[in-house]
Amino acid sequence: MSGTPMLEATLSKSYGGQLVLRGATIAAMRGTVHALVGENGAGKSTLVKIVAGVIRADRGDLVIDDRRIDVARWDRVAARRAGIGIVQQHGAMAGTLTVVENAVLGVEPRRAGLLSLAATADALVALGREIGMPIDPHARADRLGLGAAQRAEIVAALHHGAKLLVLDEPTAVLAPIEVDGLLATLRALARERGTTVIIVTHKLDEVRAVADDVTVLREGRTVTTFRPPLEPRAIARAMVGADLPDVPLPTPVAADAPVALALAGVTVGAALVGIDLTVRAGELVGVAGVDGNGQHELAHAIAGLVAVDAGTIALRGASITTATPRARLQRGLAHVPEDRHHGGLVLDASVADNLALGRADVTGRFVIDRPAVAAHATARIEELDIRPPDGAALASALSGGNQQKVVIGRELSRPGLAVVVAAQPTRGVDLGAVAKIHEQLRAAAASGAGVLVISADLDELLALCHRVVVLLRGELVGERVATAAARGEIGALMTGAKP
């Protein structure tokens, strides 16, 4: 059976004028596990969502099970009927419904007008046992752990006769042992039942463990498809892009420079475990890692937006472990939140007001000094080349890159800057803006602040930082001096592979 394609697709898709998929291709053979890899924003999720009918492509060719599909009319209902199941990253079950209720939604079996779920429940249990994914069909979905919920979704998808099963980053939420089990099941599904599996993942060790073929996506295009035998290093190179532009090395930091930020044993629930980290004045330290490995909690713990369960955080030698966010900011911390839309900006307010938000040093303590706010806005707009150069414009009217510049402008212009924590500072931002933002971060370091950059973009960190530490499942698993030569090793650390 294998050797014939279950899915062949060439797809294009844009969001608001921005091309996200530019004729990306994928060909998945029957009865194989096909991995889809690539950097954040490469278009993986977009591609698989189109295949599963969750969103619509702008144009392209789609052949599924030897049937040519009109992409303009391809939706979730049609895809379901055609035997395509999808398990999305964040799950798609309604929490207050039971597993079996979720499973039958839309195609409810009924007897005498009433739901008749017993047969489906039995079938789910039997199927789950058969493929090694035991499930409780009568458990409420929101009472299940993430792993159990995902198993339930997989079993439900197979129950509906999925011949093509799509999983978007299924392992990101699982514990290592669960990952092993899932991967084994997927392999068995492909071998024994002939199911075709497409799995999106960032982790090369998983790719090696489960995949027959690998498609690498970058900037909406398919770079290449690897067939066995797979060569992890080659895949990593293909993911990141062959050659990186030369970037000036940051000026070295004296070994005896004072410590700006020191974390010792910082623990936040299970998301962050025993983090020890120091950043010296003038130093740029990168935190590399795949999204969802504790980056969010790390930034929030330092900024005081989440309480730490154990450990201490010190700023210029003084403990801020229990200080309020406001007190930390007053002592010279600047925090660039990871999501500018939720936590970074007040979209409904003007650029000038956003630049002055919470900045008592600009606005004055009580009565707002309007001329000062305007002058501050003018200065930041000039400095960062914010477009349009209009402080009165609403933040929501700016492009993503310019919005991000507003956040950077507000945070990095704080007086007496001691520490900067920048989370995903250039996510979704165009090249020119990236350069501006990097320039600002370097300038902050040069002026004596310790800068911690958290990014999923390894190249960004290598270009920007002195050192890179790697965050994996809430722990720091390694540290390297940021040189182009270390990229392979760091990439391996990020994906959990042995360097």
Binding site: V54, D75, R76, V77, R80, A92, M93, A94, G95, T96, L97, E101, N102, V104, L105, G106, V107, E108, R110, G113, L114, L115
Partner: protein, 288 residues
């Protein structure tokens, strides 16, 4: 005293008082479980009461009145959904505004149809015997059927999914908006029947005769954690309280009569405060 409390008339009285609360609460539970904030219960009761009285009067048939009450409740729900879901108006504001409109609107209609400011003319009713009152039967059947339907019918399943995660419904090709519309229509119809009970039981409509019952019913829905059966039981509790108040008065037991009606409100508040976050949460997509 005790013998009175155990008597059949007392029991019948509780049930009679409970009918509008129970129907409104069941309607509210359905609507809210589908994800639509149902502050407009008061409007549904009032318009239901008015329509039942007007049509009952015109046709001399309480059955026709009941049908009109049901239709009026559903109509209010339709307007509510149209404004809140299709036109994307804030659901809370729509509810508040519809209640304001109902208060003035029913009086306006009284003026228009009967040239009266606060009362409609005589309307035949079903009588006080609970067993002979189809609205009582409707309430009883609904109190049993609604929880079962939510659990055991396709309609109920989709409705719950719409309130919880509309995207999950959309993903299987079912329109969440239409699901919510149907849920709200059924919920509105039940509340409208509750309104019909208000006016038919006293043979006529009078202004503001819902008197905050819609708000109490909603409070009971919340208190019950959006479970219709529990909400209905809570409503019977409210009715028990009212009956006791009436009996205490008739039996000349001194209680502060201003404070007794506040008990359901205080109770709701206490439950909200004491249970705080531990309470059963509202449907995940309520109001979105």
């Amino acid at each position: 005293m005790i013998s009175i409390l155990l008597s059949a008339t007392f029991g019948a009285q509780i049930l009679r008082i409970a009918i509008p609360y129970v129907l409104a609460a069941l309607g509210g539970a359905i609507t809210e479980r589908s994800g639509v904030v149902d502050l407009a219960l008061e409007a549904k009761l009032l318009f239901g009461a008015f329509a039942a009285a007007a049509v009952g009067h015109a046709t001399s048939s309480p059955m026709a009145g009941l049908a009109a009450g049901i239709a009026a409740g559903a109509l209010v729900a339709g307007v509510q959904i149209g404004l809140a879901l299709w036109l994307a108006a804030d659901q809370v504001i729509v509810g508040v505004a519809l209640n304001l409109l109902a208060l003035a609107g029913t009086r306006f209609l009284l003026q228009l149809l009967f040239d009266e400011g606060s009362n409609s003319p005589y309307t035949p009713g079903f009588g006080d015997a609970v067993l002979g009152n189809p609205i009582a039967w409707l309430a009883l059947v609904a109190a049993i059927a609604v929880p079962l339907a939510l659990r055991h019918t396709r309609w109920g399943l989709r409705l719950r999914a719409a309130g919880d995660r509309p995207e999950a419904l959309a993903a299987v090709g079912v329109s969440a908006t239409r699901t919510r519309l149907f849920a709200a229509l059924v919920g509105g119809a039940l509340a409208g029947a509750g309104g019909a009970q208000l006016s038919l039981s006293v043979n006529g409509f009078s202004a503001d005769m819902s008197g905050g019952r819609g708000y109490i019913a909603l409070a009971m829905v919340i208190l019950a954690g959006w479970r219709p059966a529990w909400a209905a039981i809570a409503c019977v509790g409210v009715a028990l309280g009212e009956s006791l108040r009436i009996y205490f008065q008739v039996a000349d037991v001194a209680i502060p009569r201003e404070l007794a009606p506040l008990v359901p409100y205080v109770l709701t508040l206490v439950v909200l405060v004491v249970l705080g976050g531990k309470r059963r949460p509202p449907p995940a997509s309520l109001g979105k």
